[in-house]
Symmetry: C2
Subunit: 206 residues, 2 copies
DNA sequence: GTCTATATTGCGATAGAC
DNA sequence: GTCTATCGCAATATAGAC
């Protein structure tokens, strides 16, 4: 029984395998700390395939980022477009953002890596998605103000950023918060509930 | 006029010069993306000095982290130890944290780099400082609850994390928020004021 | 489409002159 | 305490067999 068909050299799948392996490796170690040998090994192929499919390590990284950010924001965008009232929108948005992190376990690390140690992709891919997401949330809050549900002395962009901060920071600080926060199995839900209580109570008019 | 005395080879200063150069380089590019040649060039010395003083690149990085975190937290700790009431403490803490970022422009990037792409230093230096800081803030909030100033159904560690998130996220997201937030010269102060308004209003009892 | 083998460059660390 | 020179190794990328 030779390694003829099912072996590591499974035609046409190297590309997908490389994308998968690269997503977790780049997310966990950062672009510079990952070698193409390591990527190829984790994908069950060889380093030549990275040049063949992506034109090199940078090309693979760029495609990982674009793919992750696109999928994440495509799942998030529809939330703020439905018909419920503003406070419900904010609540639903936060819940969705929170649950999406389980579906996209790598996106936060990829995002924060680009924030702290930007590569060329920061300008070409990260910025556009984040700016679009921020604008959406900002508009929702502005709408809440004009409807009289949210304090009118608040600045929508600052308030949007404050909410994003409470949610995003939680998911990146997990490696240190494991020794600090209650180790409840429903920790994510508990935190989300508490954040929403503080935030909604803090911004609501009257 | 030879380069005899004042030249790049200024005795006994290589160590300090390396520490300074390494702080900004590691903060901006991350540990793996910086070479010892680059460090030496920026410090006006040679790569041999890194092994001589720090035992290698990792040793230099470890000393940079320890030095930055120690100085930062030493400046922050006294704030929560004075006698004012809880709400004032939280306000003062936030203001100090905010202003310290101007004094320590590298600390956030070093911190977030370790959060997203941890090195050995995450366990040995970062974790202890962050855990201590988090505990302090948590205790302050717990005190506010027992005094009746803060809602008693809130969890002190979650609430502390929420505040830290609003503040810390703001400073790391700056590269993308430049195109989003109002470009007021007093942006930091405006954001801080708004965050405090939302947070204090959101957590206060009754 | 995949693999092995290799060319070339740059890395971190060190030895030894001054 | 500092510098130059260099060693050994691992990096990315590519050429060419299958």
């Amino acid at each position: 029984m030779k390694s003829s068909v099912i072996a590591s050299s499974n035609p046409k799948y190297s590309r997908e395998k490389l994308m998968e392996a690269a997503t977790t490796l780049f997310a966990n170690k950062g672009f510079a700390a990952v070698s193409i040998r390591e990527l190829a090994l984790a994908a069950g192929t060889n380093s030549g395939m990275i040049s063949y499919y992506f034109g090199g390590k940078e090309g693979l990284y760029a495609e990982v980022l674009e793919s992750q950010f696109k999928a994440f924001f495509c799942a998030l965008v529809p939330i703020l477009k439905n018909e419920t009232d503003t406070m419900q929108k904010i609540k639903k948005f936060s819940q969705t953002l929170s649950s999406l992190h389980k579906e996209f376990p790598c996106i936060m690390r990829l995002y924060y890596s680009e924030l702290t140690n930007p590569t060329a992709c920061f300008e070409t891919v990260v910025k556009k998605y984040i700016a679009a997401g921020a604008k959406m949330l900002e508009n929702t809050i502005a709408q809440g103000i004009s409807e009289g549900n949210i304090k009118k002395n608040l600045n929508p962009s600052y308030s949007a950023l404050a909410l994003a901060g409470m949610l995003n920071y939680y998911f990146i600080v997990q490696p240190v918060s494991d020794g600090i926060l209650p180790d409840s199995p429903k920790r994510d839900e508990e935190y989300l509930e508490e954040v929403l209580q503080i935030y909604l109570n803090g911004v609501k008019a009257k």
